[in-house]
Amino acid sequence: MSSKAKMDPRIEELLPFYTLDALSDEERGLVDSYLAEHPEVRGQIGDLQSAADALPFGVTPVEPQRRLKDALMARVAVDQRTSEQKQAPPPHERRWANLFPAFSFAIATVAVVWAVILNIQLSQLRNEVSALGDALVAQSNSLEQINAKLPQTPVSAVVTISLKGTEARPEAQGELIADPKSESAVMVITGLGQLEAGKTYQVWLIDAGGPKSAGLLTVDANGQGLLIVSSGSEIGSFNALGISIEPDGGSPQPTGDIVVLSDL
């Protein structure tokens, strides 16, 4: 009783509604803070809380139809199964993954690059079906190069970085698929126009020391291009990637319009 006498009257009047769970968030926070500072008051809540907790039992019970329980348990069963599968992949899958990491990566890379290319084509070249077919054949050949150049990279290290056009070429977009620890990567780009004779796109990897040429890029009639970027050092050590328009054969440093520039 003595602890009751000490209780802040503002808190005391909130307690019945606290136990009925009918306070605003702010009011509830006040009571929680008070209880944390005055644990001796918790005992006074007991009677109110037990009465509030009994209220649902005073409602007329309504027996649910059997189908509701069956539906719930079926949902639970599927969830159980899914959880088990997530937690424990079959042993033969683990063994396979351990024995053939390079092969896994090759398959994953092919799948990722195919997905990227198909997405770009579907969104931008919906009406040019024949051109799409040609592009896919060309890119399929390039994918074989990818497998040859990146056979040892572990799957888990691969990241995909979005590339965006500058104001000079806002419709340009693409992706760089790379292992930051590797010295090479795959770049897929679209939205680049065909250049006049004597000009070429040149890809640059940029670090604190400035831009370093990563290769010349050729685009097809649909403005698409795919390049195996070779950096000479870890891709992850660069801060940005850019593409500029240069004279045929490329330049030691960017001299023309920068059409793509994205942080890595």
Binding site: T19, V59, P61
Partner: protein, 219 residues
């Protein structure tokens, strides 16, 4: 097809677990308490969830129906309530309150949210007479007879205790608990001073507790 097969397999496993649970229950003649079952649910035991469902589904549906007043929406709330028990049992902390307190908070909040979203209930009732509620006492063939009897006894005890309260106290408690109304909203709705609402809530709860104790109610 694979998913259906998986579900069938898992259901068969649950049935098997259920039999074990019942068998152990019969041997000990002492049903597992709510907190033990909740801990099992947290470990992914579907049979434990089913035991809790058998124990409380009719009360949960009764509460949802009382708040919402629409059978279909109330059934959705029932399903969602036990789905949340399944997915969130690991967040239940017995030291902070009973399992039923946690369970009924879930159903109450879901029901009040559903009501506010759909506005299916015409108006919050101001009485506490449940005689107009849908009453379907059809027994579930799988339900434990002792648990059913216990639920009916509890229902009678609480209704009797509520009947002993002055109507104005009962009204404040019901508006706050079942309809999620704040004390200010109750004061406004009833035209009473805020202080009066405080007093009615406190006295009503204390009187309810006293009556339940006298009747040896076990929550």
């Amino acid at each position: 097809m694979t998913q259906n097969k998986d579900a069938t397999d898992a259901l068969m496993r649950i049935n098997s677990e259920r039999k074990l649970l019942r068998s152990s229950k019969n041997k000990s003649a002492e049903p597992l308490n709510d907190e033990t079952l909740a801990a099992r649910v947290a470990r992914g035991d579907g049979a434990a969830l089913e035991a809790l469902y058998d124990r409380y589904a009719s009360t949960v549906l009764g509460v949802a129906l009382k708040v919402i007043g629409d059978q279909g929406v109330a059934e959705d709330v029932l399903q969602e309530t036990f789905w949340r028990v399944w997915r969130s049992a690991s967040t239940f902390q017995p030291q902070r309150g009973s399992f039923t307190s946690w369970l009924f908070r879930i159903v109450r909040n879901l029901a009040i949210d559903a009501y506010r979203r759909s506005n299916v209930r015409p108006q919050a009732k101001t009485g506490t007479d449940d005689s107009e509620s849908v009453l379907d006492q059809t027994p579930d063939p799988d339900a434990d007879v002792a648990e059913q009897a216990q639920a009916i006894l509890k229902n009678r005890q609480v209704r009797k205790a509520l009947a002993s309260l002055p109507q104005v106290q009962k009204q404040v408690i019901e508006l706050a608990y079942f309809y999620g109304m704040t004390r200010q909203e109750i004061a406004e709705a009833t035209g009473e001073a805020l202080g009066t609402i405080h007093t009615r809530a406190r006295l009503g709860l204390l009187k309810l507790r006293e009556e339940l104790e006298r009747d040896e109610f076990e929550g």
